[in-house]
Symmetry: C2
Subunit: 198 residues, 2 copies
Amino acid sequence: MAAPEIDALTQALARLPGLGPRSARRAVLHLLKRRETALVPLIAALTTVEARLATCSNCGNVDTRDPCAVCTDPRRDQTSLCVVEEVADLWALDRARLFPGRYHVLGGRLSALDGVRPEDLSIDALVGRVAGGGIDEVVLAMNVTLEGQTTMHFIADRLSSLPVRVTQLAHGMPVGGELDYLDEGTLAQALRARRPVQ
Amino acid sequence: MAAPEIDALTQALARLPGLGPRSARRAVLHLLKRRETALVPLIAALTTVEARLATCSNCGNVDTRDPCAVCTDPRRDQTSLCVVEEVADLWALDRARLFPGRYHVLGGRLSALDGVRPEDLSIDALVGRVAGGGIDEVVLAMNVTLEGQTTMHFIADRLSSLPVRVTQLAHGMPVGGELDYLDEGTLAQALRARRPVQ
C-alpha cells in the first residue's frame, strides 16, 4: 500500500492531540495532494519554530527568544504577576489581552496521584521572583479542579510571609451559563460570592 | 503573546483537515513541549516524504516511487483492475488487502455542479490501459453517490466495446447495519439484490 515513509508520517501526525489514525491519514493525503501550498509551508513553519524554540528562563513561557516577548514588553505592568499551570493557560489569557502584567508558568499542578511534588513545579522560582521585590500583586489563576485548587492554596501559603497581595480568579456563573444546566458546585460558588446589583 | 513564527505554525496546522484553530494550538503546544520526541521526528517524516513524493504514472497512486509499490508488486494479479475515485479510496481498499489486483485512480468524479468533465479525470488513460490488453476484469469501485454512480456508468459505457468484464461493488446492508436505522435507498438495494440463503 503506502510507502513506509508515508506510513511514518501518518504515525507522527497521529500522535498529535486531536488527531487519530484516520484523521492523520486524511491530513497526509491533504499534504500529498498540495505539495507546494501545504506540505512545503508546513515543513518551513515547523523548521523555523524548531530552530528558534526557547523556554523563557524568567517565566517559563515558550517563545522564540529568552526572555520571552511578554517579559520584555515595556508596556506591561511590572508590578503584577499572574501564575498559571501551563503555557496553554498563559496563551489563553493573553490571547484576549485580559491581563496587563506578566506571567509565571508552573509547568503543571500538584498531584499526589501523578506524583507531582512542589519541587517538580517552578514554585521556588516564583517565590524568588516575588521576594526579589517590585511585585505588588500575584494572581493565582489555577484551574478550578481539585489539583489546581490544592496547588493554589499551597502557593498562597508559600507567599503569605511576603509583602504582596495574593488574589485568585473569581468563581461563579460563566457567561452564557444557564442555571438549569450548571453543576451544583458552580451554583454554590456563585451564590456564596453574590454581590449587590449595581 | 506567541511569537509570529509560532502563530505561522499554528495557522499551517489549522489548515489540515480535521484540525481547527483550537486543536492546532493544542498540537503546537504538544510539539513545543516535546521538541526531541515529537517536533524533530515530525519534521523528519515530512521532509522525507516531501523529498521522495511521486505520483504513479501508471495508476495515479501517490507513493515514493514511480511506478508505485502496488503496480510493481509481482504477487499482484495483473489481470484485474480496480477503478477508484481518489487515492484515499485505493488506500482504504488496500489497507485491508481486499483486492488482489492493481488499481486505477481517476482523480475525482464527474460533476456538472463542480464542472468536472471526463477529460479532467484519467478516463482516457484507463481506457488505454485496458485496450493495451492483458486485463480480464475491471471493478468499478466508485462511491455510492449520484456523482460516483454517474461516473461509474460513464466509464462502463466507455469500456463496453473492449473485451473485458466490467463489474461494480455490491450494494446492500452494511455489516452491523440494522434495518430500522438504514435509509430507504440501502434497503431497496438490499432487497433487490437478495439471494438464496446458503
